[in-house]
């Protein structure tokens, strides 16, 4: 059979055909282009439209950026240098750089203090954000708020030291007695901290030096992007513990506690931040003792912290609700009491689930710190709209300044959200 076949057929191939490359349109760039950009006529149309839009935007923006003038003392000088070409006047950024970052009243010879504070903050935040770093660094994180206060506001060094000692005393008492009874440790810690603060306050008043080593800077002199950063970092870090407490309160089966938390959360979430800032600027002063002077910065911090803690509480409540009921029952059956169960079993899992939500709230809050410009605080936006655009040299330099502000916020917010996505992937260990 095979013989006849071999004779009757003119040609029989003995070896395999060598592999030939795939057709040109099915490989490499052209395949990718066909599949991803020109798969059918709708897609082709969309691609052309998108390319056209990108071209329009880039052709308007790129020359503007690349022709930018970085050295000039006023807008008119910028225009002379440009001589009719399209180009940005980035000179406003170089000339007003310090004002944009620190506000227009912070003493220039003290700029090193907020800058140092910023870098210390990066060190302090690092162990919170990245778990691989040595845990000992958390000690610095705990000390950082007091260092930061001293660096930014200056004044007698005893004030932050007493504040730190109070917190340390509270922690020591909590650590000593909290193991046996949470309530005893908790309330004992608070009482201990207050005792230290009151005694320390007297001491601070007694030995107030004439010329403190660090020149005191009043809060109203803070401004620029520094103010946004300070508000954002302070309020987020204060509102997370407050949010946890509110979320637990809302889950509580004690009707009164639950009621207070629900009313607080729903009230705060129901009104815009602007109205709360109005409260801070015009109304809150009525609720403090008549002779006290609580400065605007602190009042704003109070209101923004209340605002974000309500949102964070809702996020954490979602995390608590997402935990299977078995976790609660398991904690009960181990004989743990409520604080133990929360601290050891429930909260670690619930907080892990709520991290993306908390980061979202943090990013939103950081963006919302620009709203303080409405109540005439000179944050980045307040500086741009107020002193800089109103000056005779730079009247009319909108795009460079607004673009710079947008760029700063974009970098920070995008960075945080990318971090949150990385963290989410990292923590995705469970069965969800």
């Amino acid at each position: 059979m095979s013989d006849t076949h071999a004779h009757s057929v003119a040609f029989v191939r003995k070896e395999q055909i060598p592999q030939s490359p795939p057709p040109a349109r099915q490989t490499g760039a052209s395949k990718w282009l066909r599949e991803n950009l020109f798969s059918n006529w709708v897609n082709t149309l969309l691609t052309i439209l998108a390319a056209w839009a990108i071209y329009l935007i880039l052709s308007a923006i790129l020359p503007w950026i690349f022709n930018g003038v970085w050295n000039a003392s006023s807008l008119s000088e910028c225009r002379e240098i440009l001589a009719g070409k399209t180009g940005a006047c980035f000179a406003v950024l170089t000339e007003r750089w310090n004002q944009l970052l620190f506000g227009f009243k912070y003493p220039p010879e003290l700029y090193w203090r907020p800058i140092l504070c910023f870098f210390l903050m990066l060190v302090a935040v690092a162990p919170v954000l990245f778990f691989d770093l040595p845990r000992k660094m958390l000690l610095f994180t705990a000390v950082f708020p007091f260092v930061a206060f001293y660096l930014i506001w200056g004044g007698p060094i005893l004030t932050p030291i007493v504040a730190l000692l109070g917190c340390a005393a509270g922690y020591v008492i909590f650590d000593r007695y909290g193991k046996e009874s949470f309530a005893a440790g908790f309330f004992g810690g608070i009482v201990g901290a207050f005792v230290v603060w009151i005694i320390g306050g007297l001491v601070v008043d007694l030995v107030r030096p004439e010329n403190p080593m660090m020149t005191p800077v009043p809060s109203r002199d803070l401004g620029g992007f520094m103010l946004n950063m300070m508000l954002g970092v302070t309020c987020v870090s204060l509102s997370i513990p407050l949010g946890i407490v509110l979320a637990l309160g809302r889950q509580s089966d004690m009707p009164l506690i639950k009621g207070i938390c629900v009313v607080f959360i729903e009230f705060i979430r129901g009104v815009p931040l602007i109205t709360l800032l109005f409260v801070a600027s015009v109304m809150l002063a009525y609720f403090f003792p008549p002779d006290s002077t609580v400065d605007l910065f602190l009042r704003v911090v109070i209101m923004i912290t209340m605002f974000s803690s309500a949102y964070i509480a809702e996020v954490i409540r979602g995390g608590l609700a997402a935990l299977p009921k078995g976790q609660y029952e398991a904690a009960d059956s181990l004989g743990l009491d409520y604080p133990q169960a929360m601290r050891l079993i429930i909260l670690p899992q619930a907080l892990k689930i709520s991290i993306p939500g908390i980061v979202n709230v943090a990013v939103g809050l950081f963006k919302d710190t620009t709203l303080v410009s409405v109540i005439s605080m000179f944050d980045l936006i307040g500086m741009i709209r107020g002193p800089i655009l109103a000056s005779t040299e730079w009247n009319g330099v909108y795009w460079e300044l607004l673009g710079f502000a947008a760029f700063l916020f974009f970098v920070v917010c995008y960075g945080i959200s990318q971090y949150s996505q990385w963290l989410e992937r990292r923590l995705a260990t469970d069965h969800r």
């Binding site: 506690i257 729903e266 009230f267 009104v271 815009p272």
Partner: protein, 410 residues
């Protein structure tokens, strides 16, 4: 033999208030109540003392006094002699107007961007990702200011439209984009029989309700037909006709025509003027919130597992029917709750109007009225009350919706 015994009754000891779980919650609540009362009393006493020191009292009488300031954009008649309460109403209506407009456009932007971000087209999906990231990560206040700056600093002044060889011309011959606002053609009713505004609205509303019933009946008939014969009749052009034809006839009878804005003196007149602040706020809120809605829409569509689409296709449904009968009803369950809370955010963010001088309720009641009368507490409380009412009613609607679409688990 039983090992479980009831706890001994009677013999109440004081220490049980803390150690016994039956009483502990009562103790804590009593402490909380005490702390709350003390705190409120402390704040209230401070308030009373501060008010006395400043010679003020809490009173809402100022709402009846003449406001004494002008508002550039009003939906209801208002002049500077109108009382503060009227100014507050103007502000409330302006807030609702911009919130409504921004909700509409933000939904359109968001749905388009969210769907396009899932497109097979690489360029389009990347472009939409860039849109979402850029607009989500920059504060809405900056967007409002940027668009307001475009409105005031880039657009030509009405003077540029003047003369034989004007530097600017009207778009489509009927719309003028100037730095004092955008002028668009406004509808005018020519028939003198329809002079009463209220009556006209009632008539239009009646026709719309009639059309709704008509189209409803039509779709019911179509479904009955499908049950009977298995064929679904094509009805979309009937539906379109039911909606358009009666309304068109009504408007023709009313004598509808468009009044085109004209350059008179130093400014345009006629037509509808949309002020720059309104446009800045509207557009900025739309693109900003649109980016968030895009993410919600994308998440909603991605939440529907591929098996659903494949199962529907294997039942023989066509792609359009797969989308409308299987994917969308499930995706909407995921999309709508965050969508409504975005609407709520738009309403709350519209309070940023004060940054560009749009006369919303924060700018009238919380801004000028507050500054003129010095009634800080009253104004801020009223302002909060308004926003709380809006928020709570929207959340109530959302709860009703959530309950109606909740997965029924048996």
């Amino acid at each position: 033999m039983t090992t479980i015994t009831d706890p001994p009754k009677g013999q109440f000891r004081v220490s049980m208030l803390l150690s016994d779980t039956r009483y502990r919650s009562l103790t804590f609540q009593a402490i909380a109540l005490f702390v709350l009362i003390v705190a409120i009393a402390y704040l209230a006493s401070n308030l009373v003392r501060n008010l006395e020191a400043a010679g003020l009292n809490i009173s809402y009488e100022f709402l009846g006094n003449p406001a004494g300031y002008d508002i550039n954009q009003t939906l209801i008649p208002y002049d500077s002699q109108s009382p503060h309460l009227r100014a507050a109403w103007v502000g409330i209506l302006n807030t609702l107007l911009v919130a409504f407009l921004a909700c509409m456009t933000a939904t359109v932007f968001g749905v388009v961007a969210g769907v396009l971000r899932l497109s097979n087209n690489w360029l389009i999906s990347k472009l939409m990702a860039v849109y979402v990231e850029i607009f989500r990560n920059i504060p809405v206040l900056i967007w409002i200011i940027i668009i307001f700056t475009i409105m005031t600093a880039v657009l030509p002044s009405p003077r540029a439209f003047r003369g034989d060889d004007p530097t600017s011309t009207m778009v489509l011959g009927s719309m003028a984009f100037t730095n004092r606002g955008v002028y668009i053609p406004g509808p005018q009713l020519g028939n003198p029989l329809f002079a009463s505004v209220a009556l006209n609205w009632v008539l239009v509303l009646l026709f719309l309700v009639g059309s709704w019933f008509g189209s409803h009946a039509l779709s019911k008939w179509a479904h009955a037909k499908q049950e009977e014969t298995g064929e679904l009749p094509t009805t979309w052009y009937y539906t379109l006709a039911i909606w358009i034809v009666p309304a068109g006839i009504l408007l023709t009878i009313m004598g509808l025509h468009w009044q085109i804005p004209e350059l008179k003196g130093f400014n345009f007149s006629g037509g509808i003027k949309i002020g720059g602040p309104l446009i800045a706020l509207w557009f900025a809120l739309s693109i900003y919130t649109g980016a968030f809605i895009a993410e919600n829409v994308r998440a909603g569509i991605q939440a529907i597992s591929k098996g659903q689409t494949e199962a529907a296709s294997s039942l023989g449904l066509r792609p359009g029917r797969v989308m409308s009968l299987v994917v969308l009803p499930q995706a909407l369950r995921v999309i709508i709750p965050p969508l409504i809370s975005q609407y709520l955010n738009i309403t709350k963010n519209s309070s940023l109007a004060i940054a560009v001088g749009y006369a919303d309720v924060t700018a009238t009641l919380g801004g000028i009225t507050l500054n003129q009368t010095g009634r800080a507490i009253e104004c801020v409380l009223l302002l909060m009350l308004f926003y709380l009412t809006i928020s709570l009613s929207i959340s109530a609607v959302m709860n009703v919706y959530n309950n109606s679409v909740k997965l029924k688990e048996r």
